[in-house]
């Protein structure tokens, strides 16, 4: 079977991201998964056990300052060379900013079609995408070149299937043309132990109804009790209640968790754009007419400052 290249997403702090495990699971349906690690020195070594656990038969590693010290151009060049050499059946990347950017350059370099935000990919290359705020389901296909797709987090159930990957170090010599955008500083911000927003299986979000930044503690508390991530509506972010990187919806993140809890969020179409493919939705809002209730599997019309603390207490009791 042909190789399927999976471009690995990982973080320094938590290692291999869940979306990578989803991609490896998907790749096993399409061929033999080969993971491609692009990062600083030693990156592949740190990730290989996890990648093997989910079926990577091979790991290609391109490491070092030349790869890691610039925005995506060097990474795209390395992957493009690899694609030309191994002629894979497909190339999978994460539908993150970086994954899409590498894919964008690959598409131009290889004169190859590209599909983003894919939630399913059949063996014949037919991809499923969700468009227009989750309102439309699209079946599409790359018609020129190989299937080059970016996979949306939380689309596929990751399943382990152990393999023992051989690591192949790729020779890295990056041309000056790929070193135009230099990273001069990386600043890590404390985000605690909560799961990453787009990958979390539970997301608890607060909206304008939360009232102020301080009250977001209530949202965080419920998120922590449910083992979830914290999100915020645009209204809450624009009002300065919570930082922008946690914004869910149009101009923010798209999430598709098992459970989405909307607190004090009215459910404007721009917010629904980012969350309406969630499996189960529950909402608390004092306005019985709020559009969020049209989506909610369970809704409580009431004061979130009464309902949420009581719910938190009840969860603690049951633990």
């Amino acid at each position: 079977m042909s190789e399927v290249l999976v471009v690995v997403e990982a973080t320094r702090e938590f290692g291999v991201k869940k979306v990578t495990l989803e991609m490896l699971t998907l790749a096993r349906e399409l061929g033999t998964p080969s993971a491609v690690v692009l990062g600083g020195a030693g990156a592949a070594e740190a990730l290989s056990a996890k990648l093997g656990e989910y079926g990577a038969e091979k790991i290609y590693a391109a490491e070092g300052e030349e790869i890691d010290g610039y925005l995506v151009a060097p990474k795209a060049t390395v992957v493009a060379e690899l694609v030309k050499r191994v002629q894979p059946a497909a190339v999978l990347l994460a539908s993150s900013q970086e994954g899409k950017e590498i894919a964008a350059r690959l598409a131009v370099k290889l004169d190859n079609g590209i599909l983003t935000d894919v939630v399913g990919l059949a063996a014949d290359g037919t991809a499923t995408q969700v468009a227009f705020a989750g309102s439309t389901i699209v079946k599409s296909k790359v018609t020129k070149g190989l299937p080059l797709v970016t996979v949306r987090p939380n689309s596929i159930n990751p399943a382990p299937d152990a393999a023992t990957p051989a690591v192949e170090q790729l020779a890295v010599s990056v041309a000056d043309a790929d070193k135009l955008a230099k990273v001069v500083e990386r600043v890590a911000e404390q985000k605690g132990s909560r799961p990453e927003l787009t990958e979390a299986s539970v997301v608890v979000s607060g909206g304008r109804g939360v009232g102020n930044a301080d009250n977001f503690k209530l949202v965080e508390e419920l998120a922590d009790l449910l083992g979830g991530a914290v999100g915020a509506s645009r209204a809450a972010v624009d009002s300065g209640f919570y930082p922008h990187q946690f914004q869910v919806g149009q101009t923010g993140k798209t999430v598709s968790p098992q459970l989405y809890v909307a607190l004090g969020i009215s459910g404007a179409i721009q917010h629904r754009a980012g969350m309406q493919t969630s499996k189960t939705i529950v909402a608390v809002n004092k306005d019985a007419e709020a559009p969020i209730f049209e989506l909610a599997d369970f809704g409580v019309v009431g004061d979130l400052f009464k309902v949420v603390p009581q719910a938190a207490e009840e969860i603690r009791k049951r633990k």
Binding site: L115, Q245, Q250
Partner: protein, 259 residues
């Protein structure tokens, strides 16, 4: 500094949006078409740079005839002129072909700096800045929440999942901006009147030296096979809190095995 801002006309994201049943492209005919919201932040950033450093701001749009409305709206914020790439053969173009056309137009315009929104609200694909940069052989600084211009050096601060990074490049470059970067100005009455007289140059594929077979459905590198409307979610149980709302919420979560 010669700045070109990429502006896309999109169907209003606040209303129902559809794909056409005949050819699976975005239904623009029945939609209320507006400037892609993120592009307004790109225009604002370009105007601020011009105000501080001098130069000229040009709007570049690829789209059908009706995109003229959005071009005039963009000009009313203050840019100097616009270029509209318009050609019937463009209908059905994929992202790869679109980037080819925009890169050809940018090549003619000779921009020092290209600014665009980080994504469009219709496709949300986020690939255009890097595709264009790849074709032009220039740097792409994407997802900026802050942009500083010092001579020919650009410095961008961009949000990442782990925090933020600071990235630099020299002009010429492509910069995409997030909506955290600034607060776009509203067009003034004077600006709206002035926009009517600003030059809008129409360019065809022939003018750009791009063959019609390289774009549209003929030149597309991907195809939409079919599309269906997802059945709308129907609301489930809705209760009014009478002192037990929190407990009932948790009971529901327990039946769904979340607690």
């Amino acid at each position: 500094m010669n700045i070109v801002v990429l502006v896309k006309q999109v169907p209003d994201s606040g209303a129902d949006r559809n794909l056409r049943s005949d050819d699976n492209t975005v239904d623009r005919g029945s939609a209320n078409n507006v400037i892609n919201e993120m592009d307004e932040y790109a225009i604002e950033e370009a105007l601020k740079i011009k105000e501080a450093h001098g130069g000229e701001v040009t709007i570049l749009t690829m789209g059908p005839d009706r995109a003229t409305e959005s071009i005039r709206k963009a000009l009313s914020m203050g840019p100097d002129k616009a270029v509209h790439v318009v050609d019937d053969a463009l209908h059905g173009s994929c992202a790869v072909a679109t980037s080819k056309v925009l890169a050809a137009a940018l090549g003619q315009l000779g921009a020092d700096l290209v600014i665009c929104g980080a994504e469009s609200t219709d496709g949300r694909v986020q690939v255009m800045p890097h595709m264009i940069a790849e074709r032009l052989g220039v740097a792409a600084l994407t997802g900026a929440r802050k942009l500083t211009v010092d001579g020919s050096t650009l410095t961008v601060e961009r949000q990442t999942e782990e925090g933020y990074e600071v990235v630099t490049a020299s002009t010429p470059a492509v910069v995409s901006v997030w909506d955290t970067i600034n607060e776009p100005r509203y067009p003034s009455f004077k600006g709206i009147m002035a926009a009517k007289k600003k030059p809008v140059q129409a360019l065809s594929l022939g003018d750009l030296g791009v063959a019609p077979t390289e774009v549209g459905f003929d030149g597309a590198t991907s195809a939409v096979l079919e599309h269906t409307k997802r059945p709308p979610r129907s609301g489930g149980e809705k209760i009014t809190d009478e002192g037990e709302g929190g407990v009932k919420l948790v009971e529901f979560l327990a039946t769904e095995k979340f607690v």
